[in-house]
Symmetry: C2
Subunit: 214 residues, 2 copies
Amino acid sequence: MTDAGPTSRERYRAQVRAEIKQHAWEQIAEAGVPALSLNAIAKKLGMSGPALYRYFANRDDLVTALIRDAYRSVADTVRAAYDGGADLAGLAHAIRDWAREDPQRYFLIYGTPVPGYHAPEDTTAISHEVMAVLIEACGARPAEAAPTPFDTHLEDHREWAGGHPAPAAVLHRALAFWTRLHGVLSLELAGHFAGMRFDAGLLIDEEVAALTAG
Amino acid sequence: MTDAGPTSRERYRAQVRAEIKQHAWEQIAEAGVPALSLNAIAKKLGMSGPALYRYFANRDDLVTALIRDAYRSVADTVRAAYDGGADLAGLAHAIRDWAREDPQRYFLIYGTPVPGYHAPEDTTAISHEVMAVLIEACGARPAEAAPTPFDTHLEDHREWAGGHPAPAAVLHRALAFWTRLHGVLSLELAGHFAGMRFDAGLLIDEEVAALTAG
DNA sequence: TCGCTCTAGTTAGAACCTATAACCAGTAGC
DNA sequence: GCTACTGGTTATAGGTTCTAACTAGAGCGA
């Protein structure tokens, strides 16, 4: 064989990195990203402080790795749901379930941005993956209504769709699916519906349904 | 007169508190809330570290004050726009302009929540103020369509509307206005539309328009 | 006007944090 | 078996929040 596979050192390294990230996720779920402490993680792993810097260059590097994993996770979730035959409503609920499983993971992607921080190149590629699935799913239902002003505007700004040949109305629908879902979901996860005891899932259903009914 | 008004000490205190908050806003705009440093603020004000604790009990107390101000500011903006005769589209753009003026201020209210943190009581009261205006604005256009399942669901969960007598369809519309606007706006502000060079304002216009057309 | 009190500031210091430097033991591979 | 690299260590610098103890001075009543 040309490739001997990972050496034992490499396997060990990957294992420790995974354990670090695991503890990081737990800390984030408990108190949010700002409370993430490399020191505390090292202690829990039985190693002392600076040892952790053998595995991640610095705090930002660890957080970036988590962000990357979060993107990968949501993309896989969407892909799996779509391959499983989910329609738009199904996709919406798959994403919602994924988000509620670990709200802080959702906000790591879609929450408050850090001024000056730019997500690494490959995460935008993963975003495109997700968007491609959404466009695909939105294309299932043909567009019947007359093109809106935003549709014609989109016709001139469709590079982001990665050359997808869908008509602008479909791109529009995919965008609106994304923004509407995020709108309800992020407010739900952030607790802004706390006082109002309605079912956010129902609202999502109608917001998504209205997409294809319009 | 029965009230002698604020003493000079009180005025001084208010002045310094305002200056502290001013510098805090600048720091947050530059690098986000996590980078907010009481020490750095104190230095800029020419006082040394712990002096700042005479004005704010701790870091959280300062941030809470900023959150309160942010709520007050958005509520005033919405109120002013509505009193100025703005329709739903006008309200949406007033809020968008307010948010783009200082994105981090927007995210202080609607961004990533800190697990365990609960906004003070009065901010939820301000939220109700905003929601009341939205309901009012949504009631201007009568509801013509048949009630949806979510409408009937809302009929049983309308306490949050503060006893507003609007029909459930109107409450529904106000909610959807809020979630749709937040969906587009927060993704725009967070830079998720960066690669796709379309005009988020147009998308908002159509999302809002679709509310009343449906 | 004297004197008390309360306020706004000071410095010192504890307990964290990130991150670097310098060192050391043990493993992998030639 | 020797060498080089890896993964750990401790020490340390410099940052943070926040408390404690103290001081200078302003305001106010007798």
